[in-house]
Amino acid sequence: MKAESNEKALLQGLARSDKKAIEIIYRENYNMVQSLIINNSGSAEDAKDIFQEAMIVLYEKVRSGTFELNCLIKTYVYSVSRRLWLKRLQQMSRYVPAMENLQDTVAVEEDVAENERINGEFLVMEKAIGSLGEPCKSLLEAYYLEKKSMVEIALFFGYTNAENAKNQKYKCLVRLKKIFFAQYKNGNGNG
């Protein structure tokens, strides 16, 4: 019971992006995933990518509010990592080894697929922001991602007043939305 409540607390922490919770989950599961990847034609770098991807899947899952703890975090992370790595190997059109199941796995295909879709959207956004160029990129990131006030931003970027900064931000936002919605619709249409 204690272990279960611990797991629950960890997941709640993870949903809040609590640094401590992230660290504990990371520490307790990373080596397991690394052995899995390395024993199946992967490198340490691959292991890091796959594990962090699995952590994101878990993160998105707990944030969606629909995640029910019907297995251990360890089992879930292992299952997702295994699934992700198999997909990666297939994408590289490499020989897919018959991965032995060191642990029980749970069905994660849907979660992984959902994560892939969300990731696709995020990558669209990242690409859109990236294509704006400076100062638009930094300006929009400061306002929308870092949630800074226009006064702070004006000070930081050297605008004489917040109104000027707001004016600049607006121009940038219009551009970004244009690019984003074009790609977003395009992506969804093809989707």
């Binding site: 992230i22 990371y26 520490r27 990373y30 024993n39 994101i56 707001k166 939305k177």
Partner: protein
């Protein structure tokens, strides 16, 4: 400027930063103005996406930081792959390549074998047949030989008793007045009966006292009642090695009569540098072997032993000092303890004809069957 204001208002609305009155007014505006409504929906979606994107980025960033922290703290083993892990990693990374390489090697080997097998027979077959033919020829020859052997066997069975012909013929000479003789081992070693015959044609029975096959020297003793001992030997035996170019002569029985031959000492050592032999140049025939080699003083300097087949006129002789060695051993036995070699020649100063006249009675033909 209006657009900016509108967007700003929409953002404030979405974020819930409006006062209740403001909010009521704005919702009224949304209902009446489709464009504003559209903008709100669109911007809501955009802002949601931006927020999630921001959190996603932040989470990724914190994962990255956590990874670095934990690696530095040594709580996870990343980046630095050590020892076994590295080997496992490398093996896993390259095992497919290795497998493919091995397969290729295997296929190549098999392919080459097939290729060689399919191409080679054209070149190989005639040889093989040749070999078989040779084997057949050999078999036939073997059969012929078998037949011949059978024929000879039958013949020998039909005539079991035949007069034993003289198979070995050589020369020997007395080393002591009582009938001890020296000759070549090859003359007597395979003989059941040994006879010695002097210049007048008298035969005496003899037996082997000592045989040195390696040196090809044999000591035999005349054992016959009709043999009368001599008072003394006219010649002596030289202990020292003779000098090169010293004139020498020999007496022997290449035929039924004693034959004289002369020559010179060619080298102080024998075949392959053998110091107990010497090389002489003399006209020698098979019957001469075992004959004495004399110097001009009538001293025995050696025993004629072998002729080199490849070089004409090259004859080897066992040096006389060897006779001393043999007798030394012989004296250990009580029968021959009194045997002594004469060291004083009675022939020095005499001319060759006189010397030979005196010597020839002491040189015998040795016959074995």
């Amino acid at each position: 400027m209006d657009d900016i204001k509108i967007l700003d208002t929409v953002e404030r609305y979405i974020r819930g930063e409006m006062t209740p009155d403001e909010r009521l007014y704005f919702e009224q505006l949304r209902k009446t103005n489709p464009e504003i409504d559209q903008l709100v929906v669109e911007h809501t979606l955009f802002l949601q996406q931006m927020n999630r994107f921001g959190e996603w980025k932040k989470f990724k960033q914190s994962l990255h930081e956590t990874h670095i922290d934990l690696t530095q703290q040594g709580k996870i083993h990343s980046d630095k792959l050590r020892g076994g892990a590295k080997v496992v990693y490398l093996w896993n990374k390259y095992k497919r390549v290795t497998a493919i390489a091995a397969s290729i090697a295997g296929i190549t080997a098999i392919g080459l074998t097939i290729l060689v097998n399919s191409l080679a027979p054209h070149a190989k077959d005639p040889k093989m047949q040749e070999l078989v033919r040779q084997v057949n020829v050999l078999e036939r020859n073997q059969k012929v030989l078998d037949n011949k052997i059978n024929y000879v066997d039958k013949k020998s069975q039909q005539q079991p008793v035949i007069s034993t012909p003289v198979r070995y013929n050589g020369t020997g000479f007395l080393i002591d007045a009582k009938g001890l003789m020296i000759t070549n081992a090859h003359v007597v070693k395979n003989s059941r009966n040994i006879f010695v015959q002097n210049n007048k044609g008298d035969q005496f029975k003899a037996f082997v006292v000592k045989l040195d096959v390696a040196r090809d020297v044999a000591i035999i003793k005349i054992d016959d009642e009709s043999f009368k001992s001599f008072a003394s030997l006219p010649y002596s035996f030289k202990k020292a090695t003779s000098d090169i170019a010293e004139p020498i002569f020999t007496l022997g029985y290449p035929r039924d009569e004693v034959v004289y031959g002369e020559g010179y000492l060619s080298a102080k050592t024998g075949y392959n540098g053998d110091t107990l032999s010497c090389q002489i140049s003399i006209a020698a025939n098979p019957g001469n072997s075992g004959g004495p080699i004399f110097n001009h003083n009538g001293e025995v300097i050696g025993i004629l032993s072998a002729k080199e087949t490849e070089a004409e006129g090259t004859v080897f002789a066992v040096q006389s000092k060897y006779i001393y060695q043999v007798l030394e051993e012989l004296r250990k036995s009580s029968l021959y303890e009194n045997v002594k070699l004469s060291t004083k020649s009675a022939l020095s100063g005499l001319d060759k004809v006189q010397q030979v006249k005196k010597i020839q009675d002491f040189v015998f033909m040795v016959k074995g069957d």
